[in-house]
Subunit: 412 residues, 4 copies
């Protein structure tokens, strides 16, 4: 008798194929789910593989549009960056995938969810917190944290043997000496030879961006149009080519950014579980968007609103990195950030060249920029004498402090 | 009879030359002060000019080393960036200059300080807050905020006429259609034709960095060594050239960064006085350092210490931008940040190419990175089962929330 | 010929009566405006006085309900407290009054607004920032900052003489040796003999609260019902008396709080202009509400949402204290805080006795409190083993830190 | 053969006595440790009990002075309060006790630590994080999280039976219908009949404070003297009695605070593990100190330093509540807070009466309060005209916002 139904996040690779078979061995009915979030994959081959390995049902779904609209766009509004550098391409994909997986489980009456994430990483947390948040009574099966599983499959060799024994097709090409995770937003590389933080990444590792040294000698110039803090149109100024749906816009930014080698970083980051890990990321379109959004946001948003909003954006980034996309606090923060974006509207011109994005200019019907007010040549509605009082009052406190304590500023 | 002595921040240019003469006209004895903080200037010509215009005393001083050690280094420790992009090359130069100007005033028994900053900008504030903090009883004369002065000198033509009348040498080359401020850390460009936020900056405007399109086709690879969060050595990996004093290190980073077109930004920023202004900056060495410091800091600092420290760093940036370098709170924040840097030590390798800085690897005797702990291949002192409990407990709250309110995550 | 029309915030007292006459002397038409925000005042006498002194038009308006609904309620939602203690009864009244004053000015076609606030205080700022925000082209006349005025009226004696000369009724009772500001929310006392921060406040100074030593020996027990973070009903548990409109609820809380001597504080606070001042406040109803709201909020709101919301609440308090109620950032913060209050709903029981408020219990249909989950006696849906993993993972970072640096915790 | 030595945090009560015997049953040598942190306890009886139950070694140590100096004083400097109300008497005691327990374990060569904290609470976390931080390789035995233990001892009846069978003295008085934790700083009450958040706490529950209704009708007036943010002397103004060592000062504040019923709160709080729990606390001396420290701190500390410091204090409170006293970030925060306290010095007079603390006045040689500057009667070194410019410049942004967006402030 079946122990019940488990919906397995299935990639088609060796690991999750073995997990599929192993779960069946343990007495579960296995439904597989493979999300298309923009990774380069032979989805039909994966379907056949899952079926041939005994999956009760196979779901393969294109989530690319909702990935862009529901996950990338809010991150753009937030200027979401973890620890000052990482744009979180993986972190925002997990809740997108897990959300659909929960829906399938609910529809299929499955009590169990399973995945192939390892026990030291962030992804297990992001995946499972989403599942618990959306399906509180679910039971999670995480084989890489179950001693009977991980003690049996100590290394890749054990998986290969198991695969051969159970008719699981064994990969013919050797595994890369690192692991990677790819989606529409980015590719991440970690582990293996990259674990030594001192060693340089191989030049041929990158799949999504050209090596800047090999990228074109001519920049592309883009005009990005924003409404409510998200792009509604991108236009290539040279050839007039333009895109205006979320998926097309983002894909086009990936294309241009990738062509010019934009968005590569090599960092050591702090995982939620408290260890430092080295990760290398390429996020071409996301990097272009971050720069453009920063520009139009500062152009149109009040200074003090922006200060508060940036604090919320930092909080958003931590929450998302740690797996709390579906938490009350992250929903609250997203609501507040979205509110702040109501007037973030206008066009940004930028050039993309040799790994870099250069902002060239911007315009907006909603800008708080007042050319006359700021001008050095005309006075506008501004009395310079006011600045004297402003400075004097700001100095009251500083002078009082000096009166009592002196200052270490001047050398004697 | 003299109204007293005024120490004037003197640049040698048309504006402050006219101010010098005007102050004398008003009945003051004028002492001029010109700081060498790395700008490209004919200091001897400026001395002669000041003397010929009747300065009672002329001070020209090389502050470059203290600018690097006392102002740039703390900013590096803080990862100081204003509004996510501006590295504040001007903001940190003002207190450096004003500090010395106050010392001169105290030594010379001058009751007045004067400067040529305009009435709409940040610099007047940065300058004067430093003066009031260090010399609370000082009187400030800011001609561009005095109606008798600014109504008389409405435009450049008025200054020219005044100059001719008073024997002030008139510049023979036409003024650039923008204003700029240069020092060791950066050059800023604003005003004039740049006031239209949509118009692109002219390609030939930049003086400190090569246009990336014209920069070398070969990257330079540097190794930067840090102690207590500041660089103590830079080495060019290709030719073995190295520098190890603060001023030499920073100048070399400027040279390499400038050669490869690193550190250009075009932004609209929010001035302290509440108006938006468009500024273009090039900060070659500072940009290299920011990237390298971010890397070594995350590598060596505890995650949660860093979160708190980054909050302080953001506060530091706002304070410095607004002119509060010499304030009790900024001194407090600098103390805390310096404390956080005690173990920020190690070497970062990076390449500089076509406007971009790429981190290649890092090593440190003080790193909290534990290759065994994080490894995918060995378990280290880590039990993956613990992660299950960690996730379950983190989910307690999320599940309770769902129990009561449900979640908007799943679509029906 | 008239210089134009000025709307003067008129209190009926000596100062603003003199200002009224002085403004007329200066050539303005003067419209007076007196807001009833709950202070104890003979409004009809004030009307007659203004008319007799030559006011072109006299507005006296009851703003009590909008003061409670539009200003006190959002402050309750925010748990608004400045510098950990001050509930800001004056700070929230200023924008309420100034808002109406602006409306009158716009309706009357007045280009000028005037008030009697002093040049060292916060109120001038709160008043004027509201005016500039709502009526950007307004001109403000602040006599206590105009040398011709303040040099003429150096002390109270000068005002008295001026009054006598111009037929302004002179107060017959001697002025209290401190100044006060009263409204529905609080009375503040400052200046005069209170300026010495060491001297104790006289026991007979307080007008809104009983001295706790003289208050009843029996507590009152109230039940406060909240919806969306604001009270919708208060019931006295002993006598069953209840109130359910905003103004009645708040007035009743003042009555009960005042009767039991609740809400007195004696503090030194930091004014926006950077000086420290000593203030004594009594805020009976507001103090009861703060305690009750804190209780129901923590009971019903997710922990992490509340952390973020409290940060916004602190920001709100600073903004309001400094006079930025009508600023884009304060509007933004209010929106976010209101969003957080959607489920802050339920009943709190509390007793009020001898200056103190004691929370006794609470209940809510929206509570995230789960008695079974937290129980020591039943397990609920909770596996204690999970806590081991939770702790171990939280310790990963601490152990790594010890590994590298050791800890100063243990003594040798 | 012994499995090794375990140091057990032993209270002398039924639970930890059973754990002692059970650990021996499991094959461990058991060393017991009982800390005197001010709770009311028969320490000698506990020693004999532990010895009679087979403890290999019994440690009973007076940690009261180090509890005050190393844990309560830093909390006073931080104004440490969790979720706006809880003074964390339990949270700061755990690391104090665990620190000594680790030292004993290291001295005794024990590889194991054990405690009787439950699996749903905060204390297990606070205890264990301290142990892991100070003794990274320690193994923790938490019986209430071990299924063999907690399934065997399902209720108190099971413990009683086990006790009788193993010669453990059984308590003769019935257990109170709640649990409590007492130390020098506070007593907490929770669980049992208190788990219903609506039910009122019994009046006779409190052991450390008088019921305010039964407290004296005469206030006590104290003068508290601070240096570097901690009290160095307390004097009773009426009888001249004074104390000047940390333990005596704090004990005396407990005595006076307790006599007048100060420091009772009834709250629902958020535990680190994500559940809400109801707790009732009485913290007499701590509450007096919090109020006095807030007063002298605001009196002597620069406004903006204090803003930053309060942010750090909030962070400190969260860290301590969650058990991270011995973490790199909490050490960092303590360092920064201590730095901020350098000039927090002076005397505060206050009265204590019927559950409330009233600040009466304060003085300090380090105060930034400037009576002349703030005076309404003299001008001091202050020009009121400056305020006009200050306000106008602060309004620039607000007027620009109105120019573009209008404001919702005025009703139409």
């Amino acid at each position: 008798m079946s122990k019940g139904t488990v919906v397995l996040a299935y990639s088609g690779g060796l690991d999750t194929s073995c997990i599929l078979v192993w779960l069946k061995e343990q007495g579960y009915d296995v439904v597989t789910f493979l999300a298309n979030i923009g990774q380069d994959e032979d989805f039909e081959a994966a379907r056949k593989k899952a079926e041939s390995l005994g999956a009760k049902k196979v779901f393969i779904e294109d989530l690319r549009t909702e990935f862009v609209e529901d996950f990338i766009w809010p991150s753009v509004q937030a200027n979401a960056v973890y620890e000052d550098r990482y744009l979180m391409g993986t972190a925002i994909a997990r809740p997108c995938i897990a959300r659909r997986q929960v829906e399938i489980a609910l529809n299929e009456g499955a009590q169990f969810l399973s995945h192939g994430a390892t026990g030291k990483g962030n992804d297990q947390i992001r995946f499972e917190l989403t599942c618990y948040a959306l399906y509180p009574n679910v039971k999670i099966i995480a084989p890489w944290r179950i001693p009977e599983f991980y003690n049996r499959f100590w290394g890749r060799k054990d998986l290969m043997e198991y695969a051969q024994k159970h008719g699981i097709p064994v990969p013919v090409t050797p595994k890369a000496p690192w692991s990677m995770d790819a989606n529409l937003m980015h590719i991440s590389y970690e582990s293996g030879i990259l674990e030594n933080p001192k060693s340089h990444a191989p030049a041929d590792m990158y799949l999504m961006t050209k090596n800047p040294e090999d990228s074109p000698n001519d920049p592309d110039v883009l005009e990005l149009e924003f409404k409510k803090g998200v792009p509604v149109k991108v236009m290539n100024v040279k050839d007039g080519k333009s895109k205006d749906t979320p998926l097309e816009i983002f894909s086009y930014l990936n294309e241009i950014g990738g062509k010019h080698g934009v968005g590569r970083i090599d960092i050591v980051e702090n995982r939620f579980i408290g260890m430092k890990s080295r990760g290398i990321y390429e996020t071409p379109g996301g990097t272009v968007l971050l720069k453009a959004h920063l520009d139009i946001e500062t152009f149109t948003m009040d200074k003090e609103v922006r200060r508060i909003k940036q604090g919320l954006g930092n909080r958003f980034s931590e929450l998302v990195y740690n797996g709390f996309w579906y938490s009350p606090e992250c929903e609250f923060v997203r609501h507040c950030i979205a509110k702040s974006q109501e007037n973030v509207e206008g066009k940004v011109q930028l050039s993309v060249y040799k790994g870099q994005v250069y902002i060239l200019g911007r315009e907006s019907p909603k800008s708080l920029y007042n050319e006359e007010l700021v001008s050095m040549d005309v006075q506008g509605d501004y009395d310079p004498c006011d600045a004297s009082g402003f400075i004097k009052i700001n100095a009251v406190r500083l002078r009082e402090h000096n009166r009592l304590h002196g200052f270490s500023g001047t050398k004697q």
